[in-house]
Symmetry: C2
Subunit: 329 residues, 2 copies
């Protein structure tokens, strides 16, 4: 494999000049540039980025921490991150933690060892103390899920108001027995959405029964089905469901169908995220739209600015209620 030195010799110039040509500096005469470019072609030379990385102590890699890539919510955000990162010549180091602290450690070590220039954390399971400690020496931003009272910048939505909006919608349709499929309240977003749910019921003068809230440890379809099974066994029948994620809502919807009940006639359902599949169910799913792609764009912009040493402000993106068949009629 030819290196910069070989190219320099072949072109009859110094390695500094070759480097200048490679980096497009203007202080090279046209003739010299041509000589060098010819040598590069002839030797089929490709500059190794490893030398540059060491010299510049950067890798232009962004570590992206997610629990699971199979969740469409995250894959859409990653899509947004990548498209924006590429423009600034950054690439993505994909890190699925699988909610496993050992995996998390592996990835944080990668950052500690300077294999990545910055971290975008989307993992709600992330160890907050480690994250805060890492943030002292490394560029970190949080996306979607964030840590209250830390100084780590984040981009997210207004979870409480979004949940409030969803439940208000159900209330406006005349529902009063509204169940809620939440995830673990150790997550900021889960607490905030629960607050929104409760506030809406509260304002309507409805006493939220503890039976009406199901705390799911995971976010797969099957968990939504489990939640629904529990709700269907309640003595006092609920007439509406609000789920903290579309995947859960779709699982619930499926379970309702399996029980020969009708959505929305027997039970209305509202999800959260507006993943693409939510428009393919039968009936289609009413949901809160989160701008996942845009959130990814902004997360990428933020982390790049942070790496460049700039100040970055937190960003709260808009959400929107998308009314579809699962709450119609």
């Amino acid at each position: 494999m030819p290196n910069i030195k070989k190219v320099a010799e072949h072109a009859g110039v110094s390695i500094a000049t070759v480097s200048r040509v490679l980096n497009g500096q203007k202080t090279v005469s046209p003739q010299t540039r041509i000589k060098v470019e010819k040598a590069i072609k002839q030797l089929n030379y490709e500059p190794s980025i490893l030398g540059r990385n060491l010299r510049n102590s950067e890798t232009r890699l962004l570590l992206v921490l997610i629990p699971n890539i199979s969740n469409p919510f995250y894959s859409k955000i990653i899509n947004g991150i990548e498209n924006t990162a590429l423009i600034s010549n950054y690439n993505i180091l994909l890190c699925e933690t699988d909610s496993n602290p050992e995996r998390e450690k592996i990835y944080f070590d990668l950052a500690r060892k300077k294999m990545a220039d910055g971290i975008i954390s989307m993992d709600p399971q992330v160890d907050k103390e480690t994250l805060i400690e890492m943030a002292e020496k490394h560029s970190i931003i949080q996306c979607s899920e964030y840590t209250l009272n830390s100084s780590i910048p984040y981009v997210t939505i207004d979870n409480e108001n979004a949940a409030y909006l969803a439940v208000k919608h159900l209330l406006s349709l005349g529902h009063s027995k509204i169940a809620f499929i939440n995830s673990d309240v150790k997550f900021t977003y889960a607490r905030q959405r629960e607050a929104g749910y409760k506030r809406a019921l509260d304002e309507a003068g409805i006493d939220a029964k503890s039976d009406w809230i199901y705390y799911s440890q995971e976010l797969d379809f099957v968990n939504g089905q489990q939640a629904m099974k529990k709700f269907l066994n309640l003595d006092e029948k609920i007439t509406a469901i609000f789920a903290v994620s579309d995947l859960l809502a779709i699982g619930a919807l499926k379970e309702i169908n399996n029980n020969k009940l009708s959505v929305p006639d027997d039970i209305a359902v509202v999800g959260f995220d507006k993943i693409e599949f939510s428009n393919m169910t039968n009936p289609t799913l009413t949901t809160i739209e989160q701008p996942m792609y845009k959130m990814g764009n902004i997360a990428a912009k933020m982390i790049i600015e942070k790496i460049q040493g700039k100040e970055v402000e937190n960003v709260i993106l808009d959400h929107e209620l998308v009314i579809r068949e699962s709450t119609l009629g």
Copy 2:
């Protein structure tokens, strides 16, 4: 930031000794090892991987080329790749090409510049000539989609027989007017599956009408819907659909529902891949199961062995027909 030299000074040993301790070599006396470890702790030292990368000319990064991460087929495979890669201390550089040659070039350049030790290509749109040329100097394997008559190792399934199996199933249910939603025949898998479709019809003495095949440029739900719209407008009504991907099949299913037709009574539907969504539709989708996760595992194993200079054999994984409601009764 402390470096290896600082640690050496602080511990009163040479740089070489610190390096030995870092790499767990046995030729270090226990006392020295303790001294060094103490210094590492006290200085809060983290070895930079950049120096090692340069020295060893490796990054332990695997470039994973996919068209789009939002397709659950790919995210599941990536899941499998990552879990296996991690065990061997490799990480994943995520590369979404968006079927854009410019993007592809960016990523190939990353490999040329030695930012990755190997490439797993899952992108059917990949430029075959570039890929073959790259394979001369770099470790490459193909996953799922592959290039016929090239020497690039691959892991995939038997597409022709899988499609044949799907169509045979429909035939056995008495269907004779079976439409096929394919993707572009410039892809190996599309040609193979079409061959399987045609072979099954042929054996049944059925003349496959050209109207019965829809070639979709993309693989989103909406493309399945478009295909179905076309089929529904045919003079001679078809009674069954086989789609080359679950996403397309689900789109078709939705369109059938939208037209107040019943699946499977009016039209039976078979998909391909067995993505998780396929069990959440109403009715649930009959589909060909591909072992995505396992395919990822094997792809990772193969590329790592290739990087180590070992010979690797092509792998053809098993597929299976999963009969569900969309072809029941």
